[in-house]
């Protein structure tokens, strides 16, 4: 098949993205919004992922919006699957927080397995086209070592590993760096 149309070009989500995507955060009361920082996944190990997003000067970005999409704990995306969540970086602290369950291994293009991961997309003022990355788990060393995507990364692989919080069970830390020394690996998928 040959493409007939060009995709609509992206434009930045801007600083007021919350009005449309998390209206309660903007101060707007919408009854049926229904999208939060929790996925709808119940089976498996409950986890929280917190972190901040830093810009190229190390400043914490306080107007970003983040979305995750992930498999269930069996690695599947069955009908009715709700592996989606969205949250913002706090206006004061810059911290974001997702609550979900740990995903299972997802099939790769050749039928082999990918290590447990979730897709993360980042939107903000100054980001002309959303940034696409993945959250892997530092405590899945064996699966990570065999992951085809991690293994394609020549530098910065550790930027995709959420670190278990030693003080709190099933909590992970995942900081994003948009630019600079510790720049997160971003994908064109």
């Amino acid at each position: 098949m040959k493409k007939q149309l060009k995709e609509t070009p992206s434009q930045t989500a801007g600083p007021y993205v919350h009005i449309g995507l998390l209206p309660d955060v903007a101060g707007i009361d919408v009854k049926h919004h229904g999208i939060t920082g929790h996925t709808g996944l119940k089976d498996g190990t409950p986890i929280t992922i917190t972190g901040v997003v830093r810009d190229g000067s190390g400043e914490i970005v306080k107007d970003a919006l983040l979305e995750i999409w992930q498999a269930a704990d069996d690695g599947q995306f069955a009908d009715g699957h709700n592996g989606f969540a969205r949250c913002h970086t706090d206006f004061e602290t810059g911290e974001f927080r997702f609550e979900t369950v740990k995903p299972g291994p997802v099939a790769w293009t050749d039928g082999s397995s990918q290590a447990p991961h979730m897709t993360l997309m980042i939107f903000a003022r100054g980001i002309n086209i959303h940034l696409h990355t993945r959250i892997y788990f530092a405590d899945e060393a064996a699966a990570n070592a065999a992951d085809p995507v991690l293994n394609a990364i020549t530098a910065g692989r550790e930027t995709l590993l959420a670190k278990p919080d030693t003080n709190s069970n099933n909590s992970y830390r995942f900081d994003v760096s948009l630019q600079g020394e510790a720049e997160t690996v971003f994908f064109d998928i």
Partner: protein, 241 residues
């Protein structure tokens, strides 16, 4: 495990989209990655995606003239915005969740972080939401937003625009954009618009006056068609979409 998970989407045309770093748009300077994006084939993680149904919609989500009314109609030019959502292979995209946000007629956002001196409109929130139908058609009612100033290497003005967020069946199709209004002289001065370098691509962000769809003695109309990434092959079996 599904066997039809071979790469399904070609990479985006990154020369058509805005680059990450566009120095004339000041905010992009420290928020754009310096390393090249890593190209990877799509797997089930990207070909699947969240499904949103009508249960996601509040009664007046697609009617921004009504959904925040306290004691009267919102101030401004009443408009109907409609269009079609297609993919790159010109296939209609049904069930696309379109989330909408915009400033009011004076260019002020109802957002705790917007301190622009133009007044809030007590009857307008700037929040909206709709789903495309089985033919890919969508529409919502609103007021035409006003231009507003923003800091950017000195003072600058945004052309009137409405923000749209789009979900196709695959998370790989995720897109956030803005559209502008035909004839607005601010479009060519805007550093955010000009982050898109190809004039043909800029043109795709401009909604056209759509007199055929105007509602007599009620509302003008604008047409804005949307194209999402296209999946090269149709899945062989019922992969979750």
């Amino acid at each position: 495990m599904a066997s039809n998970t071979k790469p399904a989407f070609a990479p985006r045309d990154r020369t058509w989209h805005p680059k990450g770093l566009t120095p004339a748009y000041n905010s992009s300077v420290l928020r754009s990655p310096k390393r090249a994006l890593l190209q990877m084939p799509t797997s089930l993680s990207e070909t699947s995606g969240p499904v949103f149904g009508h249960d996601m919609l509040g009664e007046n989500d697609a009617d921004m003239l009504a959904n925040a009314v306290v004691d009267g109609d919102p101030v401004g030019e009443r408009i109907v915005v409609s269009g079609r959502v297609l993919d790159e292979y010109a296939r209609p995209q049904a069930g696309v969740l379109i989330e909408v946000w915009q400033a009011n007629a004076g260019g002020r956002y109802r957002h705790i972080r917007d301190g622009y001196l133009a007044p809030l409109d007590p009857n307008f929130s700037g929040y909206g939401r709709c789903l495309s139908d089985s033919h890919g058609n969508y529409s919502f009612r609103t007021i035409r937003p006003g231009p507003y100033p923003f800091p950017n290497n000195g003072p600058a003005w945004r052309p009137a625009h409405i923000h749209l967020s789009l979900f196709g069946a695959s998370f790989a199709q995720r897109l956030i954009t803005q559209f502008y209004f035909e004839g607005d002289p601010l479009i060519r001065h805007c550093a955010i618009v000009n982050a898109v370098s190809d004039p043909a691509a800029v043109d795709r962000l401009v909604a056209r006056l759509d007199l055929d769809n105007a509602v007599p003695f009620d509302a003008l109309a604008y047409k804005f068609d949307i194209v999402l990434r296209g999946r090269e092959e149709t899945p062989l079996d019922a992969e979750h979409g």
